[in-house]
Protein backbone atom coordinates (compact mmCIF):
# COMPACT_ATOMS: atom_id res chain seq x y z
CA UNK A 1 0.00 0.00 0.00
CA UNK A 2 1.15 3.51 -0.74
CA UNK A 3 2.41 5.66 2.11
CA UNK A 4 2.00 9.44 2.49
CA UNK A 5 5.48 10.02 1.11
CA UNK A 6 4.57 8.02 -2.02
CA UNK A 7 1.51 10.20 -2.54
CA UNK A 8 3.62 13.33 -2.15
CA UNK A 9 6.13 11.98 -4.64
CA UNK A 10 3.38 11.23 -7.16
CA UNK A 11 2.14 14.81 -6.97
CA UNK A 12 5.70 16.11 -7.22
CA UNK A 13 6.25 13.94 -10.31
CA UNK A 14 3.08 15.22 -11.96
CA UNK A 15 4.15 18.79 -11.22
CA UNK A 16 7.68 18.31 -12.52
CA UNK A 17 6.53 16.55 -15.69
CA UNK A 18 3.53 18.86 -16.24
CA UNK A 19 1.14 15.90 -16.13
CA UNK A 20 -1.93 17.96 -15.44
CA UNK A 21 -4.33 20.20 -17.27
CA UNK A 22 -5.82 23.46 -16.11
CA UNK A 23 -5.15 24.64 -12.59
CA UNK A 24 -5.50 21.39 -10.67
CA UNK A 25 -3.24 18.39 -10.25
CA UNK A 26 -5.35 15.32 -9.71
CA UNK A 27 -4.90 11.61 -9.01
CA UNK A 28 -7.89 9.38 -9.61
CA UNK A 29 -8.63 6.51 -7.24
CA UNK A 30 -5.72 7.17 -4.91
CA UNK A 31 -5.54 4.70 -2.03
CA UNK A 32 -2.95 4.94 0.71
CA UNK A 33 -2.18 4.38 4.37
CA UNK A 34 -3.13 7.66 6.02
CA UNK A 35 -0.47 7.45 8.71
CA UNK A 36 0.22 11.19 8.88
CA UNK A 37 -2.10 14.01 9.89
CA UNK A 38 -1.13 16.07 6.87
CA UNK A 39 0.10 15.42 3.32
CA UNK A 40 1.18 18.96 2.56
CA UNK A 41 1.32 21.92 4.93
CA UNK A 42 1.17 22.19 8.68
CA UNK A 43 -2.15 21.22 10.26
CA UNK A 44 -3.99 24.15 11.79
CA UNK A 45 -4.67 22.60 15.16
CA UNK A 46 -6.57 25.61 16.43
CA UNK A 47 -9.04 25.37 13.56
CA UNK A 48 -9.20 21.58 13.80
CA UNK A 49 -10.28 21.79 17.45
CA UNK A 50 -12.91 24.42 16.62
CA UNK A 51 -14.24 22.37 13.73
CA UNK A 52 -14.47 19.29 15.99
CA UNK A 53 -16.54 21.36 18.45
CA UNK A 54 -18.83 22.39 15.62
CA UNK A 55 -19.17 18.82 14.37
CA UNK A 56 -20.05 17.73 17.89
CA UNK A 57 -22.79 20.34 17.97
CA UNK A 58 -24.29 18.78 14.81
CA UNK A 59 -25.27 22.28 13.69
CA UNK A 60 -26.01 22.63 9.98
CA UNK A 61 -25.09 26.31 10.02
CA UNK A 62 -21.50 27.44 9.48
CA UNK A 63 -22.10 30.58 11.53
CA UNK A 64 -22.06 28.28 14.57
CA UNK A 65 -18.39 27.37 14.05
CA UNK A 66 -16.69 28.69 17.20
CA UNK A 67 -14.53 31.68 16.33
CA UNK A 68 -16.21 32.20 12.94
CA UNK A 69 -16.49 30.27 9.70
CA UNK A 70 -13.45 30.08 7.41
CA UNK A 71 -13.81 31.38 3.87
CA UNK A 72 -14.25 27.95 2.29
CA UNK A 73 -17.32 27.20 4.44
CA UNK A 74 -18.75 30.64 3.70
CA UNK A 75 -18.28 30.06 -0.02
CA UNK A 76 -20.19 26.78 -0.13
CA UNK A 77 -22.96 27.59 2.34
CA UNK A 78 -26.32 29.16 1.54
CA UNK A 79 -26.86 32.84 2.19
CA UNK A 80 -28.07 32.05 5.70
CA UNK A 81 -25.06 29.80 6.35
CA UNK A 82 -26.76 26.42 5.86
CA UNK A 83 -24.72 23.44 4.63
CA UNK A 84 -25.04 19.64 4.35
CA UNK A 85 -21.60 18.59 5.53
CA UNK A 86 -21.60 18.78 9.29
CA UNK A 87 -19.98 15.39 9.81
CA UNK A 88 -21.24 15.19 13.39
CA UNK A 89 -24.78 15.58 12.09
CA UNK A 90 -24.17 12.94 9.44
CA UNK A 91 -22.68 10.49 11.91
CA UNK A 92 -24.64 10.95 15.15
CA UNK A 93 -28.08 12.34 14.28
CA UNK A 94 -31.38 10.52 14.13
CA UNK A 95 -32.13 12.47 10.94
CA UNK A 96 -29.23 10.67 9.26
CA UNK A 97 -30.19 7.33 10.79
CA UNK A 98 -27.64 7.12 13.63
CA UNK A 99 -24.72 5.96 11.52
CA UNK A 100 -22.25 5.48 14.38
CA UNK A 101 -24.79 3.59 16.48
CA UNK A 102 -25.33 1.27 13.53
CA UNK A 103 -21.59 0.62 13.35
CA UNK A 104 -21.49 -0.26 17.06
CA UNK A 105 -24.51 -2.56 16.69
CA UNK A 106 -22.86 -4.45 13.85
CA UNK A 107 -19.74 -4.99 15.97
CA UNK A 108 -21.78 -6.14 18.97
CA UNK A 109 -23.42 -8.73 16.71
CA UNK A 110 -20.19 -9.81 15.04
CA UNK A 111 -16.71 -8.41 15.65
CA UNK A 112 -15.54 -9.78 12.31
CA UNK A 113 -18.28 -7.98 10.40
CA UNK A 114 -17.80 -6.22 7.08
CA UNK A 115 -21.07 -4.33 7.50
CA UNK A 116 -19.86 -1.72 10.00
CA UNK A 117 -20.14 1.18 7.61
CA UNK A 118 -21.10 4.76 8.38
CA UNK A 119 -22.79 6.23 5.32
CA UNK A 120 -22.17 9.95 5.04
CA UNK A 121 -23.69 10.84 1.69
CA UNK A 122 -27.29 10.15 0.72
CA UNK A 123 -29.42 9.52 -2.38
CA UNK A 124 -31.01 12.98 -2.19
CA UNK A 125 -27.64 14.77 -2.29
CA UNK A 126 -28.21 15.26 -6.03
CA UNK A 127 -31.01 17.64 -5.13
CA UNK A 128 -29.66 18.84 -1.78
CA UNK A 129 -26.20 19.95 -2.86
CA UNK A 130 -27.31 23.25 -4.39
CA UNK A 131 -30.52 24.11 -2.56
CA UNK A 132 -30.87 27.70 -1.39
CA UNK A 133 -27.72 28.70 -3.21
CA UNK A 134 -25.28 26.37 -1.42
CA UNK A 135 -22.71 24.25 -3.25
CA UNK A 136 -22.10 21.46 -0.80
CA UNK A 137 -22.02 17.94 -2.24
CA UNK A 138 -20.84 15.86 0.74
CA UNK A 139 -17.19 14.91 0.15
CA UNK A 140 -17.11 11.73 2.23
CA UNK A 141 -19.12 8.88 0.75
CA UNK A 142 -18.77 6.38 3.57
CA UNK A 143 -16.36 5.11 6.20
CA UNK A 144 -16.02 1.42 6.89
CA UNK A 145 -14.67 -0.01 10.14
CA UNK A 146 -13.07 -3.41 10.53
CA UNK A 147 -11.79 -5.13 13.66
CA UNK A 148 -8.89 -7.45 12.91
CA UNK A 149 -6.37 -8.81 15.45
CA UNK A 150 -7.67 -6.49 18.16
CA UNK A 151 -7.21 -3.37 16.03
CA UNK A 152 -9.93 -1.05 14.80
CA UNK A 153 -9.10 -0.21 11.19
CA UNK A 154 -10.76 2.66 9.35
CA UNK A 155 -11.28 2.80 5.59
CA UNK A 156 -12.30 6.27 4.45
CA UNK A 157 -13.99 6.50 1.06
CA UNK A 158 -13.85 10.06 -0.26
CA UNK A 159 -15.65 11.39 -3.30
CA UNK A 160 -13.39 14.41 -3.56
CA UNK A 161 -10.48 15.52 -1.43
CA UNK A 162 -8.28 18.61 -1.52
CA UNK A 163 -4.84 17.31 -0.58
CA UNK A 164 -3.97 20.33 1.58
CA UNK A 165 -6.94 21.65 3.58
CA UNK A 166 -9.41 18.84 2.94
CA UNK A 167 -7.16 15.94 3.87
CA UNK A 168 -5.77 17.32 7.11
CA UNK A 169 -9.13 18.45 8.50
CA UNK A 170 -10.90 15.26 7.45
CA UNK A 171 -8.05 13.14 8.83
CA UNK A 172 -8.42 14.83 12.22
CA UNK A 173 -12.15 14.06 12.13
CA UNK A 174 -11.57 10.39 11.22
CA UNK A 175 -8.99 10.03 14.00
CA UNK A 176 -11.45 11.61 16.39
CA UNK A 177 -14.24 9.22 15.38
CA UNK A 178 -11.91 6.24 15.63
CA UNK A 179 -11.26 7.13 19.28
CA UNK A 180 -14.97 7.72 20.03
CA UNK A 181 -15.79 4.37 18.51
CA UNK A 182 -13.09 2.63 20.55
CA UNK A 183 -14.64 4.09 23.70
CA UNK A 184 -18.18 3.12 22.62
CA UNK A 185 -17.01 -0.41 21.90
CA UNK A 186 -15.28 -0.63 25.29
CA UNK A 187 -18.59 0.26 26.96
CA UNK A 188 -19.92 -2.84 25.22
CA UNK A 189 -17.00 -5.00 26.40
CA UNK A 190 -15.24 -4.95 23.04
CA UNK A 191 -11.67 -3.83 23.69
CA UNK A 192 -9.65 -2.75 20.69
CA UNK A 193 -6.70 -0.53 19.92
CA UNK A 194 -6.48 2.07 17.16
CA UNK A 195 -5.55 0.40 13.88
CA UNK A 196 -4.71 1.84 10.47
CA UNK A 197 -6.55 4.60 8.70
CA UNK A 198 -6.73 3.80 4.99
CA UNK A 199 -7.62 6.66 2.67
CA UNK A 200 -9.35 6.06 -0.62
CA UNK A 201 -10.09 9.17 -2.66
CA UNK A 202 -11.88 9.04 -6.01
CA UNK A 203 -10.32 12.43 -6.70
CA UNK A 204 -7.34 13.56 -4.68
CA UNK A 205 -6.27 16.95 -5.96
CA UNK A 206 -4.16 20.02 -5.39
CA UNK A 207 -5.26 23.48 -6.47
CA UNK A 208 -2.97 25.96 -8.16
CA UNK A 209 -2.69 28.16 -5.07
CA UNK A 210 -0.80 25.34 -3.37
CA UNK A 211 1.59 24.44 -6.21
CA UNK A 212 4.32 26.35 -4.36
CA UNK A 213 4.26 23.57 -1.78
CA UNK A 214 5.32 21.10 -4.47
CA UNK A 215 8.16 23.35 -5.55
CA UNK A 216 9.18 23.71 -1.94
CA UNK A 217 8.93 19.95 -1.39
CA UNK A 218 11.07 19.16 -4.43
CA UNK A 219 13.63 21.76 -3.46
CA UNK A 220 13.88 21.14 0.30
CA UNK A 221 12.24 17.79 1.02
CA UNK A 222 9.98 19.52 3.54
CA UNK A 223 6.29 18.72 2.94
CA UNK A 224 5.06 20.71 5.92
CA UNK A 225 5.86 24.38 5.38
CA UNK A 226 3.76 26.97 7.18
CA UNK A 227 1.00 28.32 4.95
CA UNK A 228 1.72 31.57 3.18
Amino acid sequence: MLLPEDVRDEFAWKWTNKKFTGNTIEIIGESFLASEPSLFGQPNHDYIMRELDWYQSASLNVNDIPGGAPKIWQQISSESGEINSNYGFLLFSEENHMQLDNVVKHFIADQGTRRATAVYTRPTIHQDWNRDGMTDFICTNAVQYLIRDGLLHVVVQMRSNDIVFGYRNDWAWQKYVQEILIQDLAENDIFVKPGSIVWNAASLHMYERHFWMLENYIETGDPFPELR
Binding site: P37, K175, E179
Partner: protein
Amino acid sequence: MPIIILEGIDGSGKSTLAQRLADKSPLPARIEHRGPIKDTVQAEYVNPLFEVDENELLIADRWHVGEMIYGPLYRGKSMVAPYLGAVESILDWFGAVRIIMSPPIEVVRERLDVRGEDYLEPEHVELVHKAYEDFAWQYNYQLLTDVADHQLDYILAAAMKHQERQHVIAGRR
Protein backbone atom coordinates in the same frame (compact mmCIF):
# COMPACT_ATOMS: atom_id res chain seq x y z
CA MET B 1 10.43 21.48 20.87
CA PRO B 2 10.88 18.06 22.42
CA ILE B 3 8.00 16.94 24.64
CA ILE B 4 7.83 14.22 27.28
CA ILE B 5 4.44 13.31 28.71
CA LEU B 6 4.53 11.53 32.08
CA GLU B 7 1.34 9.97 33.32
CA GLY B 8 0.40 7.55 36.07
CA ILE B 9 -1.52 7.13 39.28
CA ASP B 10 -0.76 9.45 42.22
CA GLY B 11 2.31 8.11 43.95
CA SER B 12 3.70 6.47 40.82
CA GLY B 13 6.83 8.65 40.74
CA LYS B 14 5.98 11.08 37.93
CA SER B 15 7.17 14.23 39.68
CA THR B 16 10.41 12.62 40.78
CA LEU B 17 11.08 11.37 37.26
CA ALA B 18 10.18 14.77 35.80
CA GLN B 19 12.76 16.45 37.99
CA ARG B 20 15.42 13.83 37.22
CA LEU B 21 14.83 14.30 33.48
CA ALA B 22 14.94 18.09 33.85
CA ASP B 23 18.23 17.88 35.74
CA LYS B 24 19.79 15.75 33.01
CA SER B 25 18.29 17.48 29.99
CA PRO B 26 20.74 19.08 27.53
CA LEU B 27 18.07 21.71 26.82
CA PRO B 28 16.45 24.06 29.32
CA ALA B 29 13.51 22.09 30.72
CA ARG B 30 10.11 23.34 31.77
CA ILE B 31 7.97 21.10 33.97
CA GLU B 32 4.22 21.62 33.70
CA HIS B 33 1.45 19.90 35.62
CA ARG B 34 -2.26 19.53 34.87
CA GLY B 35 -4.77 18.71 37.58
CA PRO B 36 -8.56 18.52 37.24
CA ILE B 37 -9.57 20.36 34.07
CA LYS B 38 -10.61 23.99 34.61
CA ASP B 39 -10.75 25.33 31.05
CA THR B 40 -11.36 23.80 27.61
CA VAL B 41 -9.42 20.80 26.32
CA GLN B 42 -7.78 23.03 23.75
CA ALA B 43 -6.70 25.62 26.30
CA GLU B 44 -5.36 23.07 28.78
CA TYR B 45 -3.76 20.39 26.64
CA VAL B 46 -3.28 21.69 23.09
CA ASN B 47 -2.39 25.39 23.07
CA PRO B 48 0.49 25.06 25.57
CA LEU B 49 2.22 22.61 23.21
CA PHE B 50 2.47 25.38 20.63
CA GLU B 51 3.95 27.77 23.14
CA VAL B 52 7.01 25.65 23.85
CA ASP B 53 10.19 27.31 22.72
CA GLU B 54 12.06 25.62 19.83
CA ASN B 55 15.06 24.92 22.07
CA GLU B 56 13.22 24.01 25.21
CA LEU B 57 12.12 20.66 26.62
CA LEU B 58 8.58 20.43 27.92
CA ILE B 59 8.09 17.78 30.59
CA ALA B 60 4.43 17.25 31.40
CA ASP B 61 4.06 15.91 34.91
CA ARG B 62 0.53 14.63 34.16
CA TRP B 63 -1.33 15.87 31.13
CA HIS B 64 -4.58 14.74 29.48
CA VAL B 65 -4.58 11.07 30.50
CA GLY B 66 -5.19 12.02 34.12
CA GLU B 67 -8.48 13.62 33.08
CA MET B 68 -9.33 10.52 31.04
CA ILE B 69 -9.03 8.38 34.14
CA TYR B 70 -9.89 10.58 37.13
CA GLY B 71 -12.65 12.51 35.29
CA PRO B 72 -15.20 9.67 35.12
CA LEU B 73 -14.33 8.61 38.66
CA TYR B 74 -14.66 11.96 40.46
CA ARG B 75 -16.50 14.26 38.06
CA GLY B 76 -18.93 11.92 36.34
CA LYS B 77 -17.24 12.06 32.93
CA SER B 78 -14.00 12.82 31.17
CA MET B 79 -13.87 16.15 29.37
CA VAL B 80 -10.96 14.81 27.30
CA ALA B 81 -12.59 11.60 26.05
CA PRO B 82 -14.33 13.13 23.01
CA TYR B 83 -11.10 14.85 21.98
CA LEU B 84 -8.66 12.07 22.75
CA GLY B 85 -7.94 11.37 19.08
CA ALA B 86 -7.18 15.02 18.44
CA VAL B 87 -4.87 15.39 21.43
CA GLU B 88 -3.04 12.17 20.69
CA SER B 89 -2.55 13.07 17.02
CA ILE B 90 -1.14 16.47 17.98
CA LEU B 91 1.28 14.73 20.35
CA ASP B 92 2.18 12.46 17.41
CA TRP B 93 2.79 15.52 15.30
CA PHE B 94 5.26 16.82 17.87
CA GLY B 95 6.87 13.42 18.28
CA ALA B 96 6.11 13.46 21.99
CA VAL B 97 7.50 10.66 24.15
CA ARG B 98 4.66 9.22 26.24
CA ILE B 99 5.25 7.28 29.42
CA ILE B 100 2.97 5.84 32.05
CA MET B 101 4.66 5.21 35.37
CA SER B 102 3.22 2.16 37.05
CA PRO B 103 5.14 0.69 39.98
CA PRO B 104 3.60 -2.31 41.78
CA ILE B 105 0.37 -1.39 43.52
CA GLU B 106 1.86 -2.11 47.00
CA VAL B 107 4.54 0.51 46.34
CA VAL B 108 1.89 3.03 45.31
CA ARG B 109 -0.15 2.34 48.45
CA GLU B 110 2.92 2.79 50.66
CA ARG B 111 3.79 6.10 49.03
CA LEU B 112 0.24 7.37 49.34
CA ASP B 113 0.21 6.37 53.04
CA VAL B 114 3.46 8.22 53.69
CA ARG B 115 2.22 11.30 51.86
CA GLY B 116 -1.15 11.21 53.58
CA GLU B 117 -2.63 11.61 50.11
CA ASP B 118 -6.32 12.36 50.39
CA TYR B 119 -7.30 13.04 46.77
CA LEU B 120 -7.36 9.42 45.67
CA GLU B 121 -9.76 7.33 47.75
CA PRO B 122 -8.01 4.14 49.01
CA GLU B 123 -10.72 1.95 47.50
CA HIS B 124 -10.02 3.46 44.09
CA VAL B 125 -6.29 2.77 44.02
CA GLU B 126 -6.58 -0.62 42.36
CA LEU B 127 -9.10 0.63 39.81
CA VAL B 128 -7.00 3.65 38.82
CA HIS B 129 -3.79 1.61 38.75
CA LYS B 130 -5.40 -0.84 36.33
CA ALA B 131 -6.98 1.95 34.25
CA TYR B 132 -3.55 3.47 33.61
CA GLU B 133 -2.11 0.10 32.63
CA ASP B 134 -5.04 -0.51 30.27
CA PHE B 135 -4.55 2.93 28.74
CA ALA B 136 -0.87 2.21 28.15
CA TRP B 137 -1.77 -1.02 26.39
CA GLN B 138 -4.44 0.60 24.28
CA TYR B 139 -2.51 3.68 23.20
CA ASN B 140 1.02 2.31 23.09
CA TYR B 141 2.42 4.39 25.94
CA GLN B 142 5.62 3.08 27.45
CA LEU B 143 4.70 1.41 30.72
CA LEU B 144 7.55 1.70 33.24
CA THR B 145 7.73 0.50 36.81
CA ASP B 146 10.89 2.44 37.60
CA VAL B 147 13.61 4.29 35.71
CA ALA B 148 17.32 3.70 36.34
CA ASP B 149 19.75 6.60 35.89
CA HIS B 150 21.15 5.31 32.61
CA GLN B 151 17.62 5.00 31.21
CA LEU B 152 17.10 8.74 31.57
CA ASP B 153 19.40 9.19 28.59
CA TYR B 154 17.25 6.91 26.44
CA ILE B 155 14.11 8.86 27.28
CA LEU B 156 15.78 12.19 26.58
CA ALA B 157 17.29 10.87 23.35
CA ALA B 158 13.87 9.69 22.17
CA ALA B 159 12.42 13.11 22.91
CA MET B 160 15.20 14.86 20.99
CA LYS B 161 14.54 12.72 17.89
CA HIS B 162 11.76 15.03 16.80
CA GLN B 163 14.13 17.95 16.81
CA GLU B 164 16.66 15.94 14.84
CA ARG B 165 13.98 15.19 12.25
CA GLN B 166 13.37 18.91 11.85
CA HIS B 167 17.10 19.44 11.37
CA VAL B 168 17.28 16.70 8.75
CA ILE B 169 14.49 18.36 6.80
CA ALA B 170 16.25 21.70 7.06
CA GLY B 171 19.54 20.04 6.04
CA ARG B 172 18.10 18.96 2.68
CA ARG B 173 17.91 22.57 1.56
